[in-house]
């Protein structure tokens, strides 16, 4: 007889389980089991993967949970008595599964959703009891397993001999009949200790005494004995204690026996327990039979119990429809034609209507009309909120989406294929993604909950697994290593999986030093580093915790919360325990509402433009826009100056000129070093070029060298080649190179006549080896039948095979290209407002300080912090005096100053303007440290000047420092209620006694970097200039004038570090530095990485030697050969060694905010 494991934690029991559902199901099936349970801790995190794994292994799934139960006698809110396993009974049309979902949601309902909350995840026994019976039939639908972790089991180790029996009886009193079994577990620990055979025997006797069925489990945490050390490390990570500490408590698992033992091993274990209890063969048989009987009761039918793969959408009535949903959809599409295609007629109209018929037919057959209406409803709701929104992804391939205003891309214009989005052969709910302003995302979520009702909506979650850095930190903590030492090692781990740590030690130059220490372990007598590597590898990818997915919202009908357990998210809204991989199996409709910072930045810029230029005339003049037909300016600018970005024509020459200049910092999708190089080479002339550019700049095309032939053909250096004349129409727009998924679909269709739906199936199948060989057979046979020559077939097949898996969906590219174009348009016409928006919402990949440098390069004045002029956000401001008078500048924001609280910020802004420090203290009540910081940043300089004092900024800071030290009050100086500060000018400021030397520029810049992470007064490299001159360093702005292949030295502060995938699999490291005149992109190939070693990822200020590489008419980059740390002057290659470098004070000295300043946490 086979044995069924009823208590099994998968890896999705975060920081507890070790093995993946697939391994467990396969092992169980291989041993002849016919069913297997998944009972993760606190939730159904691994359940859907378990279902899938069981179905693949041909065994029945059993689902349950391992849950804490509050102590009835203790403090209900925080004290837990123990843990029990709860199994759902199956084959009852989901009654068991529903009860399980609701029970788990109960357990989470009181928690805060934030880590470290005071309330644990647990249920009261009363809740548990009430959920075990189906509310309609009153039949038991859940079974509770009282095992070694229950209060009963835990009491066995205590001194009070009768305590376990008392507790056991309490359970039997509370729980409905037939819902409790005793779980017998022995992990063969020393007699008398937890999980020992002797404890198992006592539990067995209790069950017998009270006529309660006993069942055998192994409380499994890992698939095989090999997993035991990993479980120890996870225990350490969960409890935040080292293994030696845990061993002393003792809190570690008592033995390493908690694996998925075979049926034979479990029978042997049963024998040992029965014999130790003094029972006989009949009792052994009963124990094993009862276990299997419970297993049979709990076998789950994925379809009838859990609704496997049955799509559920909100009820029609909820979205305000009272007729057949499909009729409604047809009507709305036709209503959209006049708006989207004004004046269309003739062949164009016929083609459009044919396409519409085609799409609607497929949607009707799949029964997805309600789905489209639901998405349209959400989309309409967002637009009504006045929030910028844009559909992204393959949804842009649908004419229906365009007509019902879900998407802004006309699929006919860009030749997008509906079948890439949805087809007859693909019966899963398609993805429609909506990008909204990031600052409005949470409001949009809340609105969706309100609109559809909280019983129909929940946020989706995501699993966060161990990556190299987290894994090495937790492995190091388990071993009790020094935090600092582990931190140093973690710093050097850069973008590789933890599972390849040992391999990386051999290959990566930045790990060379560490690898050496591992090698020398014998000499040092320290084995820990070697063990550290092994344990780090063991943690690879294991889930650490779930969090709110950045965009997924699940919409369902009124039964949604019967189908997924929910728990509070950090946002306060409920979050499903299921992740994106669980959506399709569970038939859940997921909408991606993604917060895009660029959308917020652009919305901000548009608002700033109106504020500064409150009429159409002003905007047209300021943005240098075309006068339009009637001379008053273009239609997309309203009379009040509002710009409708979505209506801006996609052919603005100034915009393309800006893109071609490669000065695209801040622009969506095209600001990275690699993209700036690509647009420099490609020189986009029209919107379609942007679509191609975005699609080319993907790992696949870069890796497989699609870019070079494309550029050669585009610029006419090499003739375009088509494998067959019939394919020319398909590949022409990309000069014969296959870039888009759409082209792959059409190629299949042209050569085999398979139809586009089938073609998309083929494209998907190509990602697996099995699928590939089937597709190849079909392709060769049918292409031959259509008369294509073997040569052509071979050639095209090679392309399809290698490109299909990573080509890019053109609909994605088109949807991305819209905000790319819009952001470049804003930068070309309204750079001040655009930069203010970027600073405010920080959408890009670079640290904010690089955009400050960009403003400097563009000649846009950066206006200093000012207590009366700075607001809670960045603002565009007309400069009134000085050399920049008349220009538009950007005033720094009070937001984001280190240590200044949100409340202080609010009060400062509410009280503006202030006429003195006393006035500021009295009305804004800000803390003394905050006043001092504002003084350091120069926020009082203008007040000070008005007061006519003779002291400088240093004197003022000193004065404030003294005040801070002499008074203990945290808030400002006490002011009596009703007392008004007299408008006498600032006596205090006037009387600050002068004496200290004024702060140097370096001091000021250091304060700015320290408190705001930006260098405003001058560029942080400026103080290095004399030394750089002696080194013979050249600046970014001069680079373009050099010939290709010139050897140069450059220097700057790191702003970007990237290791994109490359052809041949060899790592290439891109490091971009900023020297104050611009950005220099350098590339480190293998040898240069060897030379640079630890400097690659470990330093902020770099001196780089390299040769120039021309990348296009306007683009130049550097192929690096060597790098130095600029802050270590003694190592630098001065041409005249007799005058070595002197250490000069530098703004970065003593500043540790690396991430905010260099964009890199090295």
């Amino acid at each position: 007889m086979s044995f069924t494991h009823l208590h099994v934690s998968t890896a999705f029991s975060a920081h507890y389980g070790v093995s993946w559902p697939e391994e467990l199901a396969q092992s169980a099936a291989a041993d002849g089991a016919t069913a297997l349970a998944c009972t993760d801790r606190d939730g159904l995190y691994g359940t859907i993967k378990h279902l899938k794994a069981c179905m693949a292994a041909g065994i029945d799934p059993i689902v349950g949970v391992d849950l804490a139960v509050f102590d009835d006698d203790g403090d209900h809110r925080t004290q837990v008595a123990g843990r029990v396993v709860v199994l759902a009974r199956g084959h009852n049309n989901g009654a068991g599964y529903r009860a399980l979902c609701r029970l788990i949601s109960d357990a989470h309902a009181r928690t805060s959703g934030k880590s470290g909350g005071a309330v644990p995840v647990a249920v009261t026994r009363a809740e548990l009891a009430s959920r075990t019976l189906d509310p309609h039939t009153l039949k038991p639908v859940l079974t509770v397993l009282l095992g070694p972790d229950s209060d009963v089991g835990l009491a066995m180790g205590g001194r009070r001999y009768l305590r376990p029996r008392t507790l056991f009886k309490q359970w039997l009193d509370v729980m409905p009949g037939g819902t409790v079994v005793a779980e017998i577990v022995s992990q063969l620990s020393p007699p008398g200790s937890p999980l020992s055979t002797s404890h198992a025997v006592r539990m067995l006797r209790l069950a017998e005494e009270h006529h309660i069925p006993a069942i055998l489990t192994n409380a499994v945490r890992y698939c095989a004995a090999d997993g035991a050390p990993t479980a120890d490390v996870l225990d350490s990570a969960r409890t935040l204690k080292s293994l030696p500490e845990l061993a002393r408590e003792p809190l570690l698992q008592p033995t390493g026996q908690g694996w998925l033992k075979t049926s034979a091993q479990m029978l042997q274990l049963g024998k040992e327990i029965i014999s130790a209890a003094g029972f006989g063969a009949a009792d052994l048989k009963q124990l094993m039979t009862q276990t299997e009987a419970l297993a049979d009761l709990c076998r789950i039918d994925p379809t009838t119990d859990m609704g496997w793969k049955q799509p559920v959408v909100p009820e029609a009535s909820v979205i305000g429809i009272n007729q057949d949903p499909h009729d409604e959809l047809v009507q709305r599409c036709h209503a959209g034609i006049g708006r989207r295609f004004p004046g269309l007629s003739g062949a164009g109209e016929r083609a459009m209507l044919t396409r519409l018929e085609h799409e609607l037919g497929i949607i009707r057959n799949l029964g997805f009309s309600s789905y489209f209406l639901t998405v349209a409803e959400v989309s309409r709701m967002i637009q009504e909120m006045g929030v910028r929104a844009a559909a992204r992804g393959s949804g842009a391939s649908s004419l229906v989406n365009y007509l019902i205003d879900v998407s802004q891309v006309n699929p006919l214009q860009h030749d997008l294929i509906f079948e890439r989005f949805l087809s007859q052969d693909r019966a899963t709910l398609p993805d429609i993604d909506i990008d909204v302003e990031s600052a409005e995302r949470h409001n949009v979520y809340r609105r969706i909950f309100e609109r559809f009702g909280s019983e129909r909506v929940t946020l989706m979650s995501m699993q966060n697994g161990y990556r190299a850095r987290g894994a090495v930190r937790d492995a190091g903590m388990a071993l009790g290593m020094d935090d600092g030492e582990v931190g140093e090692i973690a710093k050097q781990l850069w973008r590789f999986s933890a599972g390849k740590f040992r391999e990386a030690l051999q290959e990566k130059p930045e790990l060379r030093e560490f690898a050496g220490r591992v090698e020398r372990r014998d000499a040092a007598g320290n084995q820990q580093l070697d063990l550290l590597v092994d344990l780090t590898e063991r943690l690879d990818r294991l889930p650490r915790h779930i969090s709110m997915h950045p965009c997924g919202v699940i919409l369902g009908d009124a039964t949604l919360l019967d189908r997924t357990p929910v728990q509070p998210s950090g946002l306060g809204l409920p979050m499903s325990q299921f992740d994106k991989h669980d959506m399709d199996p569970m038939g859940m409709l997921k909408l991606d509402v993604l917060g895009v910072r660029m959308q917020s930045a652009m919305a901000f810029a548009v608002r700033e433009i109106i504020r500064i230029h409150p009429s159409k005339e002003d905007v047209v003049a300021a943005g240098n826009h075309s006068p339009g037909q009637d001379g008053s300016g273009p239609d997309y600018i309203a009379d009040n100056g509002h710009i409708d970005l979505n209506a801006v024509p996609l052919d603005d020459e100034a915009t393309f000129e800006l893109i071609r200049s490669t000065h695209t910092l801040g622009c969506f999708q095209i600001e990275s070093p690699g993209q700036r190089e690509l647009i420099g080479k490609m020189a986009p002339r029209e919107f379609n070029d942007l679509i191609i550019d975005i699609s080319l700049f993907r790992p696949g095309p870069m890796k497989s060298d699609m870019v070079r032939p494309f550029l050669e053909h585009r610029h006419g250096f090499a003739p375009e080649v088509y494998p067959h004349p019939l394919l020319k129409p398909v590949l022409q727009e990309t000069h014969g190179v296959t870039v888009f998924h759409e082209q792959i679909l059409r190629t299949f269709d042209v050569m085999t006549g398979c139809g586009l739906a089938k073609a998309d199936e083929f494209r998907r199948a190509l990602s697996s080896e099995d699928g590939e060989s089937q597709v190849e057979e079909y392709f060769r046979k049918h292409a031959k039948a259509k008369g294509f020559s073997p040569d052509v077939i071979d050639k095209v097949w090679e392309t399809l095979k290698s490109f299909a898996s990573f080509g890019f969906c053109k609909a994605h590219g088109a949807a991305f290209a819209v905000p790319t174009y819009q952001s470049a348009w804003l930068k070309a016409h309204h750079p001040e407002a655009f930069l203010a928006g970027l600073w405010e919402h920080d959408p890009g990949m670079y640290p904010k300080r690089l955009l400050v440098a960009e403003a400097r390069r563009l000649g846009i004045p950066i206006l200093p912090l000012d207590i009366n002029l700075s607001k809670a956000e960045y603002r565009v401001e007309r400069v009134r005096s000085g050399q920049d008078a008349g220009k538009l500048g950007i005033r720094l924001s009070l937001n984001g100053i280190y240590g200044l609280s949100a409340t202080e910020l609010k009060r400062i802004v509410a009280g503006q303007p202030y006429d003195s420090l006393a006035d500021l203290r009295a009305r804004s009540r800000i803390s003394k440290p905050s006043i001092k910081r504002l003084a350091q940043l120069g926020a009082f300089d203008s007040l000070h000047r008005e007061a006519g004092g003779t002291a400088n900024r240093a004197d003022l800071v000193h004065h404030l420092q003294k005040l801070q030290a002499t008074s203990s009050s945290k808030k400002g100086v006490e002011v009596l209620e009703g007392q008004l500060s007299l408008p006498l000018g600032d006596v205090e400021l006037r009387n600050v006694s002068p004496g200290l030397p004024a702060p140097t520029l370096v001091d000021n810049v250091r304060a700015e970097l320290d408190l705001m992470a930006v260098d405003v007064s001058s560029h942080l490299m400026d103080s290095h200039r004399p030394m750089l001159d002696r080194l013979g360093v050249i600046t970014a702005d001069k680079l373009l004038g050099l010939r290709n292949g010139t050897e140069v030295l450059v220097a700057g502060v790191r702003v970007a570090t990237q290791t994109p995938p490359m052809r041949g699999g060899r790592r290439v490291v891109f490091i971009s530095i900023d020297d104050g005149t611009g950005c220099i992109d350098s590339v480190f190939f293998h040898e240069a990485q060897e030379n640079a070693g630890m400097l690659l990822f470990g330093t902020r200020l770099l001196l780089i030697r390299g040769t120039t590489r021309r990348t296009g008419p306007r683009g130049i980059s550097l192929s690096a050969s060597m790098a130095w740390d600029l802050s270590r002057t003694e190592t630098l290659p001065f041409p005249d060694p007799s005058t070595p470098g002197q250490d000069v004070p530098h703004p970065l000295d003593g500043i540790s905010r690396s991430l905010a300043i260099t964009g890199f946490n090295g």
Partner: protein
């Protein structure tokens, strides 16, 4: 109770239970049902490697408590042996070799 790490030859029945053993050149027969359990190791101090796939036996080791009588009926000191001797044995997971861990002598464990 004495802590030992002497090598012992143990013969087992097909179900894995020890039947007889040879220790310091003398033969003993197991005279009562043996008890088995596992004990933890401070493996983070004891092993230098724990790569994936080698984890079995890293965390714990198997202990057998056996009661034995000498086959020739005589104890080491020549006295007649009527009371069985209780021994804790451990089996190394990789080599299958047995070692003697502890001797329990009647009520009072002694150090041999």
């Amino acid at each position: 109770m004495g802590m030992f790490s002497e090598s012992v030859d143990v013969a087992c029945a097909p179900d894995g239970q020890p039947v007889s053993l040879t220790w310091s050149g003398r033969s003993y027969a197991v005279c009562a049902e043996s008890v088995r359990w596992y004990e933890r190791r401070q493996w983070w101090d004891e092993v230098s490697r724990a790569p994936l796939g080698s984890g079995q036996g890293v965390v714990d080791h198997e202990i057998w408590r056996v009661q034995v009588l000498p086959v020739d009926g005589r104890e080491r000191n020549g006295r007649e042996q009527d009371e069985p001797l209780t021994l804790d044995l451990t089996r190394h997971i990789g080599s299958g070799r047995w070692r003697l861990l502890r001797i329990h002598d009647g009520l009072r464990p002694t150090t041999a």
